[in-house]
Symmetry: C2
Subunit: 157 residues, 2 copies
Amino acid sequence: MGNRTERLLAIKNLITNNKISSQEELLLLLEKMGLHFTQATLSRDLKFLKVNKIADPEKGYIYELPDMHGGINEVAEHYAAQGFTSIQFAHHLGVIKTMPGYAPGIAALIDTANPFEIVGTIAGDDTILIIPHNNVSERDVLSALVLIIPELKDKLT
Amino acid sequence: MGNRTERLLAIKNLITNNKISSQEELLLLLEKMGLHFTQATLSRDLKFLKVNKIADPEKGYIYELPDMHGGINEVAEHYAAQGFTSIQFAHHLGVIKTMPGYAPGIAALIDTANPFEIVGTIAGDDTILIIPHNNVSERDVLSALVLIIPELKDKLT
DNA sequence: TTCCCATTTGTATAATTATTCATTAACCAT
DNA sequence: ATGGTTAATGAATAATTATACAAATGGGAA
């Protein structure tokens, strides 16, 4: 259902952009966005998205998406952004063009992040085929890519 | 107290080497090792160590230490192991010798891992000063380093 | 059109974890 | 030796999360 996909995306965005310390708090934020469902459903969604609950000095605990930490990954992300040339969609599939030799590395980065929007990727030398999940729009895929490689934001406008 | 440090190290090692899905399960494993304390204390320890609880297809949920994922970090860890030459202790401080130019990168890797055994590091070009936490032995520091850079295990024997 | 199956979701509650409050112990200064 | 402070821990329970069970919905096949 489109509803579920919409909900999952909203959850990812809220967790990315806010420090949230409980499912109750997250439910309230989602309701403000017009999304209504129960704590049980949210618990299943967080499990599906493999969200972490981690200690935070400011709020006690906060939720985090997998691989949100900077550090070493920032190097890989920069490399990916450098090699990325363009993305287009055909028949709902995404086709990323890269500079020669960059495709495998960028595909590996996407695979490591394991976003629910993307079922899988196939990489050549300078091309990556992106296979979106059911009910996931082109815009959703682009959002997911920006979460993985923030520097792409400028290139996808 | 020595007890607390011992307990924290045991917790880290158990989580690193086992798939553990609840604090009750972890408590039982610790009791088998001769360490006895309550769930309340364990909860505080997991918070202190910033342990994640993450979804796992096999066990429902498992605990994970920060930065346990492979992927990109394995490259950095290999780089670090390659450049590491030796470690010695003086006045409880650890002094790591590296190949020229490697020290800053290795120190950054240690800092990113943020192990509770180590208060901080100071890196030159081919030397890293390791400042251990109170009540942390030289052996504890070596254990922490092996958790961060597993390939060091052979070099520290 | 009907039936079957799979998936999703809610309700209720079981399971699990986090924290308040109190106690104890260690350390340091006097 | 004593008193004060800080930290650690346990008991109890509050808070939070996960799931069993049932119901509803949608899709596909006959």
